[in-house]
Symmetry: C2
Subunit: 306 residues, 2 copies
């Protein structure tokens, strides 16, 4: 089944398009979990972020359609952290969640192929397929150009997966290169137009492609512009919540039927409590419900409930 | 000690600036190694690429100053592959080699910090420092702008490490975005100028900064242009050898004293034999010596022999 159709199906089933970002930073974990994994090794740290992430999945799985683990926090714990990343993705899939591995890869030729197959279709070896991260989608960086993007598209298209390309990122300094005026239009528009072409190569029944665009909620004018250029592209929108973007700032990302946008919140959900809060799981649940309510009130996401 | 000074010292000690790229692709490994790790699991695959990589280190360590493991091929084997990556980097350091982890990271804020500390200064947790990959330098992608690069510089400057920023990559499609005309000059020139500023913030005694530029040997004209703009920046030059760049194509990367360039060869060294070649280690040694000879004949690298 096509990635965009699977994504839309999952969003309709849950009645929203909120993505729970899983960003397990050690110093934001509940004290209870930190204390039980206090061995002082990277392995103990990995166990702690794994336990926290798995418990968050149990909380958010009945509420949201999508999760996005931030690979950097798993990698910070070394090989044991990467094992935790693998287990978190496995559990998310078993809970029926769509998974976006946020690892922002980008390389060329067979190197890109190795990253792509690790994230999506699986590493092939002696004619056998081995699942590595087995996410439904990953994030990638466009700087190296189409031939470097190609292996990611190929891997996604082998397994009904998706690729989200960085177009206009949510950080303050994004404009340094992304807004440069290139032959009369900003660089991010050139990247957006390329994403539009790549997405058009493989549209799902819902009219959306399997190549998405990352566009930050912290730049609502740019978000609306990119939506205008790319009606057939799914947007992954970071920057809502802790990074300062409001629900109204994300409104321009949606299609009239509520499709075509995935709004991510990471710290707003998983770091919404003080470390010594005993009832942190209730706090995560409340924050998740509140974000869904907030987005439903302010955007066309409400159409997904239909 | 400053990264550029350490790098130059290592190059002078070996009399060359060849970087051995460690790209362990399963289907290019010696049959002997493949057969002994034929368990059919990712763990077995990881053991095979680890054994191969460690044996390559023993061969190249007396000859070259620098190695560059390509993270994608380790990641393709999952968590076990990342453990292999860690061990390869550990052994390289113990052999006195300068290590450049080629993982092309790029993200924002605390996420970038997590990647940076994993690669360079170590993950900090409860006041303790934990080594993760502990490379001397890593490669990063500039698309997200200075504030996203900042955490990598900070981590490097904590530990005398370095950062190599993608400027003009070696793939054919690099020009799609990197050559766009932005306000009268190509995008890669904007990136190069930013790299020049970042490098100037922290120069070593040798006059070179701790922020380097990745510029492909497959584009000799662009390589010479970037060298002209950035006299104080170390270049990491991929594309020599298997990708088509000749020794003469890399000549523009060097300073008169042979410093400021690191020429990488990956497949040219580590996939220079047929898988059934029993004497593959001799072949790797011969190929490494031949590359050093070739570069010494055609470039100012010869000045390193002093």
């Amino acid at each position: 089944m096509h990635f965009a159709d699977r994504l839309l199906h999952a969003c309709r089933k849950k009645g929203n398009a909120l993505c729970a970002g899983i960003d397990p930073r050690w110093d934001q974990l509940p004290l209870d979990i930190r204390n039980r994994h206090a061995g002082g090794t990277l392995g103990a740290m990995a166990s702690a972020i794994e336990e926290f992430s798995l418990r968050v999945l149990d909380i958010v799985a009945p509420l949201v359609p999508i999760i996005k683990p931030q690979s950097a926090f798993f990698e910070a714990c070394g090989p044991a952290g990467m094992l935790a990343q693998q287990r978190v993705l496995q559990k998310a899939r078993s809970l029926g969640l769509i998974t976006i591995l946020d690892n922002k890869r980008g390389d060329i030729a067979t190197t890109a192929e190795a990253y792509a197959d690790a994230a999506l279709a699986g590493t092939h070896w002696n004619g056998h397929r081995h699942e590595v991260w087995s996410a439904d989608a990953l994030t990638i960086n466009p700087y190296l150009g189409r031939d470097a993007v190609e292996p990611f598209l190929a891997s996604a298209r082998k397994c009904g997966g998706g690729v989200f390309v960085l177009v206009r990122t949510s950080n303050k300094g994004a404009k340094q290169f992304q807004d440069l005026n290139c032959d009369g239009k900003p660089l991010y528009q050139h990247v957006a137009e390329a994403v539009g072409e790549w997405a058009a190569e493989n549209l799902g029944a819902c009219g959306l492609g399997d190549v998405g665009a990352v566009v930050g909620a912290t730049h609502p004018a740019e978000l609306a512009a990119v939506r205008h250029w790319l009606p057939h592209v799914v947007f992954l929108v970071p920057g809502y919540g802790a990074q300062g973007g409001s629900a109204a700032d994300t409104a321009g990302a949606f299609r009239a039927d509520g499709a075509a946008a995935v709004i991510n919140s990471s710290r707003g959900l998983t770091a919404c409590f003080k470390p010594d809060e005993v009832q942190w799981e209730s706090a995560v649940e409340r924050a998740t419900r509140a974000a869904i309510h907030d987005l439903t009130q302010s955007t066309l996401m409400k159409a997904l409930k239909g």
